[in-house]
Amino acid sequence: MSSTAHLHGGIGDSIKRKEDGRFLRGKGNYIDDITLPGMLHMAILRSPHAHARIKSIDTAAAGAKPGVIAVVTGELMAQHKLAWMPTLSGDTQAVLATDKVRFQGQEVAAVIAETKYQAEDARDAIVVEYDILPAVISPDGAKATGAPLIRDEKEGQKDNHIYHWESGDKGTTQAAFAKAAKVVRLHTFYPRCHPAPMETCGCVADVNPGTGKATIYMTSQAPHAIRTVFALVTGLPEQNIRVVSPDLGGGFGNKVPVYPGYVVATAASLLIGRPVKWIEDRSENLISTGFARDYHMTGDLAVDKDGKMLALRVHLDSDNGAFFSDAQPSKFKAGLFHIVTGSYDIPTAHITADGYYTNKAPGGVAYRCSFRVTEASYLIERLVTNAAIELGIDQAEFRMKNFIQPEQMPYHSATGWVYDSGDYPKAMNVALEQLGYDEMRKDVEARRKKGEVTGIGIASFTEVVGAGHGADFDIIGLRMFDSAELRVHPTGKAMLRMGTKSQGQGHETTFAQIVAEELGIPAMDVAVEEGDTDTAPYGLGTYASRSTPVAGAATAMVSRKLRDKARKIASHLLEAAEEDLEWERGKFYVKGSPDRAKTIQEIAFAAYTNLPEGMEAGLEGVHYYDPPNMTYPFGTYAVMVDVDKGTGQVKVRRMVAVDDCGVRINPMVVEGQIHGGLAEGFAIAFMQLITFDDDGNCIGSNFIDYLLPTAWETPKFETGETVSPSPHHPLGAKGVGESPTVGSPAAYVNAVIDALSPYGITNIDMPVTSDKVWAALRSKGVTE
């Protein structure tokens, strides 16, 4: 890369990140780093039981402890009509329990004290009497006759069923199944897991008693939407609420919802008149905040005698926990699960979904995925590999035979999606080439002859990211557009603000590069700010890989608006007609006379000093971008594993990941995103599990039980790429941060299933732990 390119930092340049400096010096500004004068500390008392009626709460002893300012209960919250709050899926959720507790870890009371040590000491002194009720811990339990009614406070709620939802065509699907030569079934459970960003959630609520203005510093991926929700919940005028999302120590969907702690801290600050800080500890984070997945899925794939896919039928039961609070577009109760036909040209499909209340934490967040795409991708990719094994066809060949072909793009899927672009066979071929598939297949056969247990898994996923279009996609009615505001200062430096919020994805660099590309201001001269609702334009936030597809597009569009104005100014400065000017990144020049030119910096200065007659001063603008369609990144992942017959341990020998996310703005940043997602996919496939015992006690409530991989377990990744630009995105870019988490779990598990297939083993539910693998092998008589 030339040094000028480095300075400029347009699209395709792997410039180093602009945000790094503060983090490298230990000067990041995370939520727990914020200290305000007079600030108090809050600790939350949580339910030890999964389901119990509250008989009494005695706060007297706690209130008398040193440093305690207040003890808040549901009763007090109810007096302010804040004991319950709306969820992002149109349900209600208890802020502090008043009647019952409905999951272990539910918020029951809060202590506000001078120091956090005092707050926690006093919390231990609150006495709560419970009548323990039987707990429901699965959809099957929720459906059972005589199951306890979890949401007895909800008018008209007679059972634990939340929703029924369908997509596709039942009739044509049935007809296709009737004609099938072969039907392959997979029943699999995508277990509950948790995003577990390294930083937990928290807030500092500061309600100014003089002005009534509430400033809430909060770990939020969607500060604007949160501000609106807060206005609706509290009745505070929206202009008196300022949500500031500081540096976030990761999010992965965990920091999208509104959590009771935020509401209680804000109410406490309002009532006491001092700032209140609440920082979750890790166990609170894992047991009470947004979980992901927990889908019980049954898929049937109909195939004809030539191995062509005819139809797909899926039923799923969703375990939503005690409150239906999935953070997802409101028209789609099972998120974007109906992308489940994936990368294959399947003529017809039918999907049914039912959601259930259980005595588990609420959530259903898009954990590094686009609203339940992960579950869909996992199901179809597992099903396809199982079908190939059952049909005796190589799993790569079976995929190749059934891929949607590039000439079919834009492709209308059986469940109503319009895929924007893609060359699936090409991505597959690049991946197989990179792995050396034919050689590796021979290697597998040779090792198997020696008694080794080894295999290769493939997944060729299609993601769907970048919600909206706003007419189809909204969250609590807010259409899923996003925004960018660009101000160019007189010296030609710029400030870009967006409605999104980086959690580590490198927005401060990537979005500056879009301005650099479109307006020619070097990326280093563009400051990028997000997260402060008082200054940034309204946006729906960062999750579901939507920042580049939506806010990135908004940034390109606002840059182009300013370029149009710049052309007018240049025309004035150069005394040439607009149509006689040529644009070259960073300057306008007169056609045929390249030395008659004005740089964007000169034009910016003129925008404040020397304007054409009648033109408004300044060089700034805002753009709200409503995407015409989603973007559809895709790829093929191939994994090799070796299984220890004695212990059941699985070792990933190779992991090849070929991603196509359209045009890459900063390839270094994109590559980093892919590495991270592949590691989380590995973690989900083999380690991460939130589970419950029969009484509803959460197992996985700390980092001793909830296993996150270290550098030692995490495989080395071999990455590759193809480029299929999105035809409707102004830059041809697609989202990418979540593709690897969506696509890789099936690839890892398929490799294990391939390894075990000689023994007739067709399924092990995630996480694929050594004891499960050992048990599967033992059941077929295999041992060391």
Partner: protein, 291 residues
């Protein structure tokens, strides 16, 4: 999350520490590196009135060889053993086991003796000292006594150490026979407690096993000395059949429970597999294979 309040003492001499313990031993916790104790204090599973920090006592760190013994001082950290190149193939089990304890950060603070006294049945050192037939040097203001490893563990987190005593060292007899050991551990990730682990130490007499020590981790109320398996080996040539029989005996001695790490049947079978693998590795080392 942080501990409930406690008193803290960090004496400068052993005599002073022992005198504090004599008075307050019943409601005190002795802390060396604190890597087991502080997590318990933070979770408030332990709420002692006094934490007695022995971290500043002089002369308790390091490994010494004298009078036919290897003496590991109470403040010798896991990392000290992990990096000790003097231990040679005879005691290669010490660095090998140390390597797999917790994570590198914990190993920089935690001590072998502290871990043994914590007596977590999932602790690694318990099995190692059982396999090595080690002794613990227990000091009190009344004097010093030796406790055999096999007599030390009473139950989960319970030992035969008296409240007024401090373990000041772990002592291992150095055999003149060709010796070797191995520590086999199954953990779900770095820093996880063992699902199952097995410590094996053998002393050879030509082609025969003179003595074998086998300790089992995380498969019972305490670390378990697999005595029947050791007897199968003693005086025998370690053929595949003998090794398989010893492994079966060790698995029979294990009393694991079903839990999130796996079923009891799984853990017993891993004991069997690990004893086989461990014996082969240990015998190989004793007979001059690579350490």
């Amino acid at each position: 999350m942080f501990p409930a309040a406690f008193d803290y003492a960090a004496p400068a001499t052993l005599a002073e520490a022992l005198s504090v313990l004599k008075q307050r031993g019943d409601d005190a916790k002795v802390m060396a590196g604190g890597q087991s104790l502080i997590p318990l204090l933070k979770l408030r599973f332990a709420q002692p009135a006094l934490v007695l920090d022995i971290g500043r006592l002089p002369g308790l760190a390091g490994v010494k060889r004298d009078n036919g013994h290897l003496t590991i001082g109470a403040l010798t950290r896991h990392v000290d053993l992990e990096r000790d190149t003097e231990l040679g193939k005879t005691f290669s089990i010490l660095p090998e086991a140390a390597h797999w304890i917790a994570d590198p950060l914990v190993r920089n603070r935690g001590t072998m003796a502290g871990s043994v006294c914590h007596a977590d049945p999932s602790g690694d050192w318990g099995s190692v000292i059982l396999a090595l037939n080690a002794e613990l040097v227990a000091q009190s203001s009344a004097g010093e006594r030796m406790i055999k490893a096999a007599d030390f563990f009473k139950g989960p987190f319970a030992t035969t150490l008296r409240p007024d005593e401090i373990v000041t060292a772990i002592r291992i007899a150095v055999s003149s026979a060709a010796s070797g050991g191995s520590y086999q551990k199954l953990e779900r990730k770095v820093s996880d407690f063992a699902t199952v682990a097995v410590a094996v130490q053998v002393e050879m007499d030509g082609r025969k096993v003179a003595r074998a020590g086998i300790g089992l981790t995380a498969v019972g109320e305490t670390n378990i000395k697999a005595v029947a398996a050791e007897k199968v080996l003693a005086g025998q040539e370690p053929t595949d059949e003998v090794i398989a029989e010893a492994a079966r005996q060790a698995a029979a001695a294990a009393e694991p429970k079903d839990d999130i790490r796996g079923t009891a049947a799984y853990k017993k079978d891993v004991v069997r597999v690990f004893v086989q693998r461990g014996l082969k590795a240990a015998i190989g080392r004793a007979q001059g294979g690579k350490a």
